[in-house]
Structure formats: structure tokens, C-alpha cells
């Protein structure tokens, strides 16, 4: 595993309609870190995530993934290195059956036959799903929690070194959310989690980055920032419920 898998220097991005989504982002992520990226709607979280495996290219600044700068010639290797789990699993599960969907990434890597089967089986075990039970299930007939797990399995099957999650707990019921938190805790990969779910952040991440209007306004200990009510309010965030309750 690379010791410093993601390095971002002075990254800026402006959308075609003129909205400055990111402005001078500097960021270093170390191996096996689990880092939360929080911020209000429109703060630039999703835009930042889409830069991490080259879906959006930096307009200004530099992003280095592993040893590779994000350039068109490195995109294949970068997308094998950084796996993104999108917010809505319906966007991600585009193949008709679970097996085909989990196989999509490894097949793009050139895997076939027994190696492919082993890779898919390992990914399904990692997310706690029985391959034999799910292999021929159709994606649209799965529950929200199952879809999320299959989406994660599809990314894990590519064996990335960095996992990026966009709102992983969105649309999940409390039990599925709890299972997801346990799952993320067991995954050994470096993780970046963009979310509004600050209770999840408190449980999973030691380090938190707060984005506000495209800029990093805090990068440090999770417990410290999430207990600072004034700071959170200033950036359109609220304290996690668990900490709010403790103060009542």
C-alpha cells in the first residue's frame, strides 16, 4: 500500500455556469486513514470526490494519486487505484444482475475465468453478501441496503487502495446504516467519506475536513470540530445528535 496515496495542491474548479466549486484546495491523505469530508450542500464535496479518480480534471493545481499525477495517460491506473462509491446505488448498478455488476470493474481490468470468480466472491464476502444467493438477482429488485452493499462490492472487486464514498448512509434505514458503519470499520483500505451524517463521522473517522464554499476551513481532529457548535453553525452545519444530546 502506498504511504501517501493522495496529495492535492492548490486545486481549483469552476463549473461552466461560473460557479466556483473548489478554490485552492490543499490536502494530504495518508495510507489507511479514514477521513471525513463534511460541508453544507453545494460546498464542493462531490466535485472534490470526482477529481480523485479523474472524472473531473483539475483546471488549476495538481492532484497526485500514489505516484501518478491525474493526467489522461494515467487514468486507467488511477481508476484502479481509487474506487468511488456513488451516492445513489441506482446510478452505479447498471448491469442487469448482481454478478455482472460486481464483475464489471474486474472485467475492465482484463480478468476472466477463475480469477474473476475468486475476485467477485472475495468482494461479496467483504460486504457480507452470499454470492450464490445474489449472483443472479436483478439489481432493481434489491433493497436499498443490499444495493449499497453490491455497489461497494463492485468497487472492492477492483481492489483499489483508496475507497471514496459519497454520502454512504443516504437513503438507508437505521439498521442498514448500522450495518454499513460496521462494514466500513472492517475495510482496511484508505477511506474518504463525504457525508452530512455527522454521527457516522464521529463513529468512524479520526480526521475531518470541513469544506465551505469550495474552500477547506478545517482539517483536523473530528472530536474537536464536531463539538464546536459556533464553528459548525458558521459553516451551515449542526452538531451531531449524539453530542447535542450529551450537552442537554
Amino acid at each position: 500500500m502506498h504511504h501517501n496515496p493522495i496529495s492535492i495542491k492548490k486545486l481549483s474548479y469552476v463549473y461552466p455556469d461560473g460557479i466556483q466549486a473548489l478554490n485552492g484546495i490543499n490536502l494530504e491523505i495518508a495510507a489507511t486513514e479514514r477521513v471525513a469530508i463534511v460541508g453544507a450542500n453545494g460546498s464542493g464535496k462531490s466535485t472534490l470526490l470526482l477529481h480523485l479518480n479523474g472524472i473531473l480534471m483539475a483546471q488549476q493545481g495538481e492532484i497526485v494519486v500514489g505516484e501518478m499525477p491525474i493526467l489522461p495517460r494515467n487514468l486507467i491506473a488511477i481508476r484502479n487505484f481509487v474506487g468511488i462509491v456513488f451516492q445513489n446505488p441506482d446510478d452505479q448498478l447498471f448491469m442487469p444482475t448482481v454478478w455482472e455488476d460486481v464483475a464489471f470493474g474486474p472485467m475492465n481490468q482484463g480478468l476472466r475465468g477463475k480469477d474473476l470468480e475468486i475476485r467477485i466472491a472475495e468482494a461479496m464476502v467483504a460486504v457480507g453478501l452470499d454470492l450464490e444467493k445474489y449472483r443472479d438477482r436483478q439489481s432493481q429488485n434489491l433493497s436499498g441496503g443490499e444495493k449499497k452493499r453490491v455497489a461497494i462490492a463492485g468497487v472492492l472487486a477492483m481492489q483499489p487502495q483508496v475507497l471514496v464514498f459519497d454520502e454512504p448512509s443516504a437513503q438507508l434505514d437505521p439498521r442498514s446504516r448500522r450495518q454499513l458503519i460496521q462494514l466500513l470499520r472492517t475495510l482496511p483500505e484508505t477511506q474518504l467519506i463525504a457525508t452530512h451524517d455527522l454521527d457516522l463521522v464521529l463513529e468512524l473517522c479520526d480526521r475531518t475536513i470541513v469544506l465551505s464554499e469550495g474552500e477547506i476551513v478545517y482539517d483536523g481532529k473530528t472530536a474537536q470540530v464536531l463539538s464546536d457548535r459556533q464553528f459548525l453553525l458558521a459553516h451551515s452545519l449542526e452538531m451531531p445528535l449524539s453530542l447535542s444530546d450529551a450537552r442537554l
Binding site: M95, F104, R137
Partner: protein
């Protein structure tokens, strides 16, 4: 297509009957089933008008397929009824044509023996073709059909497009229903479009138009997000192709039987014509 959605729910798991060893249809490789059905459909469609005995033979050949496929007859009939309602508009057009003996006339509309023969022939062709295609899609899941198309050397890009269409038609219908529910919750109803006591028909139509427009925009946005998700997992513009199994002796036998039936139907039809 939207009308079809409640009827095309396919099972995730194979039905208990599909494990039955005597079920010859389920034992055939999927691409063999597709080939058998397409050969029969082509033979039915290309048979010249008025060859009743040929179609009778093909109809008899369809019976064991209906039995072997173990399809639910109620669903089969429902599907056929919906599809026939659509194609009957086209079929009616074949009735009013010149030639043969004049049977009925009203202004420029006329029914002749020629028109009746054409209508009956085209109706039989449509009925038998739809019957076979529906049996195929009811007895075989869509993912397996797509896999069979790959085996039959259909271009992978076309199969991928079909797979995406199948995957997302449910999502689209879900989104459309969600929008419709949201509109209904604020007292929008299709009957308002025609209700005589309302003075805002134009606005009601505009709302419906906006909903459909919004559905297209959402579709576009979703397509964009799906493409991003594909890129994120290493998609480089060329769809991947799964390995496929080849058929055994029973598949070759089934294809041979279908060819013989087609040939026999054509010869017998020509002799009796």
C-alpha cells in the same frame, strides 16, 4: 412500453419447473431457444399471404413450446391482448384495399375479398410471431436473453445499450410514478385535463408537459451519472463480453426439428394452395 411494466416483472430465481428434466425447453441453451424462436418468426413472417396450411403447421409446432416453456397462460394472454391493441390499428389499415370481389362500400371506404385475405393473413402472422416472442421472454430472463445475443455474435455495444435500457426502464417508471404521486398529492389528476367545469385545461396540459420534460431532463442527468460511475470502474468505451457455453446434442436436435418443421410447412402450404 410503460404499459408493459407491471406485466414484465420477471422472476429473479428460476421457477421450480425449470429444474424438471422432462422440460425440454428449459434444458435448451438460451441461444438455441432464441434461434428457434427467431427462425420460426422469420418463417411465419415471410410466408406469402393466403398460405393457411403453412401457418396451421407452425401453430401446431408452437403448442409443444407453450407446454414445455411452462409459461403462465394468464400473463401470456394479458400481454398478447395489450400488444394486439397496439398493432390492431396497423392491421386495420390492411383491410381497406382494392382488388378481388367488392363486399362492402361506404364512400371511399371499401372492403374486398383481397382486403379480408390480407387482414386475416397479417393478423395470423402477427399473432403467431407475438405468441412465440412472448413465450421466449416469459420463459427466459432478460439477462439470459442478453447473454444469448452476445453468444449469437450481436455487436457488444448494442447488447450493452439494450442491457442499460432494461435496467433503467424500471428506474424511469419509478421516477415517473414518484412525480405523478407528488402531483396527485397536490390535487393534479388526469381527469382534470377533460373535466368540463374546469377552465384551466391549458395549464393542466402544461403541467403534464412539464412533467414529461422533467423526466427527460432527469433521464439525461442520470445518464451522465451512470456514465461517470462506469468510468470510475475502468470503462474505456468498449463493453466487456462474458464467456458463453455452447449447446449440446439436444440443442442441435431442436434446431434440426425447427428447420424440418419450417421446410415441411412451406412445402405442404405450397402443395395445398
Amino acid at each position: 412500453m410503460l404499459l408493459h411494466i407491471p406485466l414484465i416483472e420477471t422472476r429473479d430465481r428460476p421457477s421450480p419447473q425449470s429444474g424438471d428434466r422432462r422440460n425440454f425447453w428449459a434444458n435448451l441453451a438460451v441461444h438455441t431457444r432464441v434461434l428457434c424462436v427467431f427462425l420460426l418468426v422469420f418463417a411465419i413472417a415471410l410466408t406469402p399471404i393466403g398460405r393457411w396450411w403453412t401457418w396451421a403447421i407452425y401453430a401446431i409446432a408452437t403448442l409443444p413450446i407453450i407446454y414445455g416453456s411452462k409459461v403462465d397462460l394468464r400473463i401470456l394472454i394479458k400481454r398478447m391482448a395489450i400488444e394486439f391493441a397496439f398493432i390492431s390499428v396497423i392491421l386495420l389499415g390492411t383491410l381497406f384495399r382494392n382488388g378481388g370481389q367488392l363486399l362492402w362500400q361506404w364512400g371511399w371506404l371499401q372492403i374486398t375479398t383481397n382486403g379480408l385475405t390480407t387482414l386475416a393473413s397479417v393478423s395470423i402472422k402477427a399473432f403467431l410471431s407475438l405468441l412465440l416472442l412472448n413465450i421466449l421472454t416469459l420463459s427466459t430472463s432478460i439477462p439470459l436473453l442478453l447473454q444469448a445475443m452476445v453468444t449469437l455474435k450481436t455487436p457488444p455495444l448494442l447488447v450493452s445499450i439494450l442491457a442499460s435500457m432494461y435496467r433503467y426502464i424500471h428506474v424511469l417508471s419509478h421516477e415517473f410514478n414518484a412525480m405523478r404521486r407528488a402531483a396527485q398529492a397536490r390535487n393534479f389528476a388526469p381527469k382534470n385535463l377533460y373535466a368540463r367545469h374546469r377552465q384551466d385545461h391549458a395549464w393542466q396540459r402544461q403541467v403534464l408537459g412539464n412533467m414529461l420534460g422533467m423526466l427527460f431532463i432527469r433521464t439525461y442527468d442520470r445518464g451522465d451519472r451512470i456514465y461517470q460511475a462506469m468510468l470510475a470502474r475502468g470503462y474505456q468505451g468498449v463493453p466487456t463480453v462474458m464467456e458463453s457455453k455452447s449447446g449440446g446434442w439436444s440443442d442441435r436436435l431442436a434446431l434440426g426439428c425447427v428447420m424440418l418443421i419450417i421446410l415441411f410447412g412451406q412445402i405442404f402450404g405450397q402443395l395445398t394452395n
